[in-house]
């Protein structure tokens, strides 16, 4: 006699077996990969987003269009999608493993501050001569240089600014006319910035401004705050990115950090505010990057019903002529791999950054294009996007290029974290600079 228990057991085992067997076709098809495709020259590209995301779909469209256009020339592009993660370690691990197996894709995408790191370690190929004819079509600040040569072309641009809550500004008695002056060609000054904060302070429940001082220790805080150091006349590193002593601990750089400290000591901001405080109307201004535009428009936050009631202001500047704003997103680069003939890769690279592709990507992501011609006339006058791309064209300045950028990023975070805790910033910064210098020397 067969018991019920036994029947269940048999069904369970059968289900497991069926599940495993159903996977076999997929596993066997693994071995058929990487074959030459009908006499075509195959050129491969790896993207840092998943194919289901909006950005991934845009890339898919561009690659499909390329294959359509180059059918006759017998070039075929294949795309793979390895999404970067929080620490971008999966993407990097994938790169390392592919390099070990000598099967790097012909084109990869990379975060622009990492350019030197990849170039110095032999991942990226020098494309200086290859793109000499098209490099003027991009904003100068967004091209990726290493040792004076171009190693990467930007996919899109990003910039940041101060989002503000119109109701709170009105309550603080800041007129539209005053606001419009801050947004024009001459950037507003630190003094004006502080004065706005002073008036906002009394009407905001939590703080006048969210400067991301208490942010998680990732790239966000350095990305949003580094332009202030340039705007104070400071520097991070020498031209070649090999020396930080004498730059990061210089008087001007330290003065920028003291400006941050003054915002804290005057009670304009704290290291305890987060994004939700702005979304809920408890903070008047919020320093954030371009993709907050889409969030504010679409997500119907309580302080911004139906996506309105907010505006965007540029970065302030202290030393005239030193105005700076955040730039730099992901870039395309050609790799040093087993293909010594880079002509097919060049065709694909040029295709991916041409105006049509750039427009497609911008339409999908809502970010600003890296091409001047695509942006022109695209945005309404007075729209936040228009402000961002004008700022980008006028004051955009890239993050420092250095091989040890991750070390720099951690150091920057450590300094910002220390702001409310120490009175002797010079000492702390010079200590950290010495350690940073020592670590950089190892690359």
């Amino acid at each position: 006699m067969i018991s019920v228990k036994k029947v269940f057991k048999i069904i369970g085992v059968a289900a497991c077996a069926a599940l495993v067997i159903s996977g076999l076709p997929g596993w066997i098809s693994l071995s058929k990969q990487n074959e030459e495709q009908g006499g075509n020259t195959v050129v491969s590209v790896m993207f840092h987003v998943s194919s289901s995301s909006k950005e991934g779909q845009a890339y898919k469209k561009c690659v499909d269009a390329f294959n359509e256009a180059y059918k006759d020339k017998k070039i075929k592009a294949t795309a793979s999608y390895t999404p970067r993660t929080d620490g971008s370690s999966a993407y990097e691990t994938a790169l390392i493993s592919m390099k070990l197996e000598n099967k790097l894709p012909d084109i990869i995408t990379f975060d622009s501050p990492k350019c030197s790191y990849y170039a110095a370690n032999g991942y990226l190929y020098n494309i200086n001569n290859m793109v000499a004819d098209i490099k003027d079509e991009f904003y100068e600040s967004s091209l990726n240089y290493y040792n004076g040569d171009i190693y990467g072309l930007p996919i899109q641009e990003s910039s940041a600014g101060f989002y503000y809550n119109k109701t709170l500004f009105r309550n603080a008695g800041i007129s539209d006319k005053e606001i419009s002056e801050y947004g024009d060609e001459t950037p507003w000054t630190y003094a004006e910035f502080s004065s706005v904060c002073e008036r906002l302070k009394s009407v905001c429940e939590k703080a006048a401004v969210n400067m991301n001082f208490g942010g998680t220790a990732d790239e966000t805080t350095p990305y949003l705050l580094y332009p202030f150091i340039y705007a104070s006349g400071g520097e991070f590193a020498s031209e070649d990115g090999r020396t930080v002593t004498g730059y990061l601990d210089s008087e001007d750089t330290v003065s920028a950090f003291y400006f941050f400290k003054s915002l804290l000591s005057n009670g304009y901001t704290t290291d305890q505010v987060d994004a939700n405080d702005f979304y809920n109307g408890k903070v008047g201004m919020y320093l954030s990057s371009g993709w907050t535009i889409a969030d504010l428009r679409n997500k119907n936050y309580s302080a911004f019903p139906s996506g309105s009631n907010w505006g965007l202001l540029p970065y302030p500047c202290d030393v005239p002529g030193c105005a700076a704003s955040a730039t730099g997103s992901w870039s395309f680069g050609i790799t040093q791999n087993h293909h010594s003939d880079k002509s097919a890769a060049r065709e694909l690279l040029k295709w991916l950054v041409n105006d049509e592709s750039s427009a497609t990507i911008t339409e999908h992501t809502g970010m600003i294009s890296a091409k001047k011609s695509v942006n022109e006339g695209r945005y309404e006058k007075g729209s936040p996007e228009e402000m961002l791309f004008t700022q980008l064209a006028n004051t955009g300045r890239a993050r420092p290029t250095m091989v040890g950028y991750s070390v720099f990023s951690t150091t920057f975070n450590q300094i910002v974290h220390e702001l409310p805790r120490t009175d002797n910033l010079e000492k702390f910064i010079s200590e950290k600079t010495a350690i940073l210098q020592e670590t950089i020397n190892k690359y």
Binding site: L30, V49, S53, A94, N276, W291
Partner: protein
């Protein structure tokens, strides 16, 4: 024949809960009430992250922002159930998390079967066989258990790719094989098998049973708790593994396990927080179920293994 075995082996004594009949003195009733109230409060203290995950997975982004930092963050948004549906729909339809879950399940099933056989055989030999050099293996096992080494994943990759050179379909082997060996499991098996009386095995051997037959027909059926424990550990290991399969399957995204899908979803900046939380709920649930189903066995498995480190 089987029944007599159970009598010999004193292992299934724990576990069964004798339910005390709540009758009699009112003091005892009061004590029980206090017990249940304390238990409920404590449970809430340990369950609230689960409530938070479930609640967030049902909300739209604006609802999440509005409820952050208040007690409302532990309650689902009943007014807007469409948001919950959307979140789960995105994860299942757009990001195909179900397919990745099936991949993970496949790897887990194969790994568990191999894990039990390979480590079980090793434990059997170390527990019941007298072979020259067995001390050497026992020492290495104890060493590897006691001294944890922060291993980099890159050397493992170099071993698999450069020396073994897995290509194509063999990549699947590369994913499964490292998950099939675990010195801790060998150790658990060894400890458990030592409690099985030797004369019983000798009797089977007298009947002409081969070593493998003894292992599969006698040892394993007697060792359900430890097999369950090892299977659970193996399942969780495979289910949570992420970086290693990603390295091996760089250009075969369809075969990646569920954690890869989870990381993709978490890194997506145009995806709502609710959908991200929904994906976390989906990946946590199987582990939770497996633990609940197997916890009785795990308790027994640990109990009888004796844990003589």
């Amino acid at each position: 024949m089987k029944k007599s075995v159970k009598k010999i082996i004193p292992m299934q004594n724990g576990g069964q809960t004798e339910v005390e009949v709540v009758k009699g003195s009112s003091g005892k009733v009061a004590l029980n009430v206090v017990y249940y109230v304390c238990g409920a409060v404590l449970s809430l203290f340990f369950l609230f992250p689960l409530l938070y995950m479930l609640a967030y997975s049902t909300k739209s982004d604006s609802a999440i922002a509005a409820s952050a930092g208040t007690f409302a963050m532990f309650l689902p948004d009943f007014k807007n159930l469409g948001a919950a549906f959307n979140n789960y729909k995105t994860v299942f339809i757009d990001y195909k998390i179900g397919e990745y879950a099936l991949n993970s399940l496949r790897y887990a099933i194969i790994s568990i079967v191999l894990n039990v056989i390979i480590n079980g055989l090793a434990g059997y030999v170390l527990a019941k066989f007298r072979i020259p050099g067995s001390k050497f293996f026992t020492f290495i096992i104890l060493f590897l258990i006691v001294v944890p080494v922060e291993t980099s994943i890159i050397p493992l990759f170099m071993v698999v790719k450069r020396m073994l050179g897995f290509k194509g379909v063999a990549n699947i082997l590369g994913i499964i094989l490292p998950a099939t060996i675990s010195v801790f499991n060998v150790f658990l098996f060894m400890q458990f098998f030592q409690s099985i009386p030797k004369d019983y095995l000798e009797a089977a051997r007298m009947d002409g049973a081969s070593n493998l037959k003894i292992f599969f027909k006698i040892i394993l059926p007697l060792s359900k708790p430890i097999v369950a424990t090892v299977s659970v550990f193996c399942f969780i290991g495979v289910w949570n593994d992420y970086l290693w399969p990603t390295m091996l399957l760089v250009d075969n995204k369809d075969l990646l396990p569920i954690q890869a899908a989870l990381t993709t979803i978490r890194g997506e900046k145009d995806l709502s927080e609710g959908a991200k939380m929904a994906s976390l709920v989906i990946t946590s649930i199987p582990i939770f179920i497996v633990y609940i189903a197997a916890q009785k066995y795990i308790v027994k498995g640990f109990g009888t293994a004796g844990l003589k480190v």
